[in-house]
């Protein structure tokens, strides 16, 4: 469970960590749009340099980003092979028997690889430098105009933050059930496929039962402390928009504008 890097928060104290989550979400969206403006290598270069600076500012290690990139490597190799057979533009670079490798295929694949790499770096930066709860709060704020259309943004945010709060508790519970079942002779590791499924069931069923029990108790506890669905509440934690947020948004918008300009000219 501890090897998953994608979407994990890394508690550090850096410039990027301290940014307002709203800034980071908006910046992410702007950059994602920028990536898809087709201006060739210059565009990727500009975004790449910006992300490199951001990465250094965030104090995240390069190996951490590399780890989150690794799972998609297989897909990229697969893409390269497909492209080699399908794309027939540009010059012929290599001929093996009847098969011709076109330059277009290679360049197209490099584009896709770069795009994916940049996207992964951007999203990893967001989730690694923002606490899940702050992310929820940022999303809630950004979605707040939807509340006027009767979308229950507060309730959705509350649900997400409760789910996040209970992930470690449920993991603990799963571990406890796992041990309890193992002590009764349930074998999770060996056996046929069917036996494994049965073993997993002996974990899932009690886990579900206890989750419902927890949910029931939690609802009681929340109600007893005065929580009413849809009622007005004061929010204790406030997001603060500072000068660094302004700079960040300014530079990200600058990049987007520059890329559009290059494309148009």
């Amino acid at each position: 469970m501890n090897n998953i890097t994608l979407g994990r928060f890394i508690p550090l104290n850096s410039f990027v960590h301290k940014l307002d989550p709203r800034t980071k979400i908006v910046a992410m969206m702007i950059l994602l749009v920028a990536i898809f403006i087709p201006v060739g290598f210059i565009g990727y270069g500009i975004i790449g340099v910006f992300l490199l600076i951001a990465l250094i500012l965030s104090k995240l290690s390069f190996s951490f980003v590399w780890k989150s990139f690794k799972p998609s490597l297989f897909m990229l190799v697969f893409l390269l092979i497909i492209n080699m057979f399908l794309i027939k533009t540009g010059d012929i670079w290599l001929t093996i028997g009847t098969f011709n490798l076109y330059s277009g295929a290679v360049i197209q694949t490099i584009y896709i690889v770069l795009r994916l790499l940049l996207m992964i770096v951007i999203t990893t930066m967001l989730t690694a430098t923002t606490k899940p709860l702050d992310l929820t709060m940022g999303l809630e704020d950004l979605l707040s105009p939807l509340a006027k259309l009767n979308v229950p943004t507060h309730d959705i945010a509350m649900m997400i933050s409760l789910a996040l709060r209970f992930i470690p508790t449920l993991l603990e519970e799963a571990q406890r059930i796992l041990k309890a079942q193992a002590s009764r002779g349930v074998d999770m590791e060996s056996g046929s496929f069917k036996e494994k499924i049965q073993a997993i069931l002996s974990l899932i069923v009690p886990l579900f039962v206890s989750s419902f029990q927890k949910a029931d108790d939690l609802a009681d506890a929340m109600e007893a402390r005065g929580y009413v669905v849809g009622a007005e509440r004061v929010r204790y934690k406030q997001l603060k928009f500072t000068f660094s947020d302004f700079i960040t948004l300014f530079s990200v918008t600058g990049i987007l504008a520059a890329l559009i300009l290059i494309k148009v000219l």
Partner: protein, 276 residues
Amino acid sequence: MNKAIEVKNLKYRYTDESLTIDDISFSIEKGSYTTIIGHNGSGKSTIAKLLLGLLEKQGGTIFIDGIELNYDNLNQIRNKIGIVFQNPDNQFIGSTVRDDIAFGLENHCVAREKMDSIIESFAGKVNMTEFLESEPTKLSGGQKQRVAIASVLAMDLRIIVFDEATSMLDPTGKREINRLIKEIHDENQITVISITHDIEEVAQSDNVLVIDNGKLAMSGSPKEVFSNEKVMIKMKLDIPFVYKLKNSLRAKGIKVSNTLDLERMAEEVCQYILKK
């Protein structure tokens, strides 16, 4: 009104089985310490949930601090009465101690500027100041219960129900929480209602309600209740050793005074033998 809680002819059933709460009436004085005891499944926790309006009663009336509970004024009721549940994990709502204490304040629309000082003062009261930023998984059961108590206290309530709040804790945690409950009762004149299996805690309370099979079997001071050993044994409830001794002495015709001090009782027995 001098009654914190007044319950008349309360009735409740979960499904179509027999009544879980069968025509119970009692009242609790303001500022008193009341314990509710009874065998597992006797309906103690159901009473607690009914008092807070977490379950809807099917008969009778409930007055909390002079206000009748009618399910339209739940907000008003929950400004007066709070509860600490049994399972420390399932009542921890925030992602840190600070957030958890803030949750109730957010619901009661306390001004944001005041929240920090309220949170810090009540965290200090339950000795959790150094853990304010800690996540629940990093805390022990006793610590989580202390946070639950702080969260309830922060809401400035007059009545607090403890629903077996110590039953899932280790002996140290249990002692700490019991001491804390006693402390907040003594210091703040808060009406405490404690559902418990801990016979020592019962002995220290002002009043005892004995629930058996959904009915109020007995009520009164611990002395009165524990003198009735036969009824207690019938309900599979234990009584403290001092009471057991006193009851069997009396059954043998040896008159002892109403003391709870073992030494003094021994003296009285000696005097009785000397006189014989």
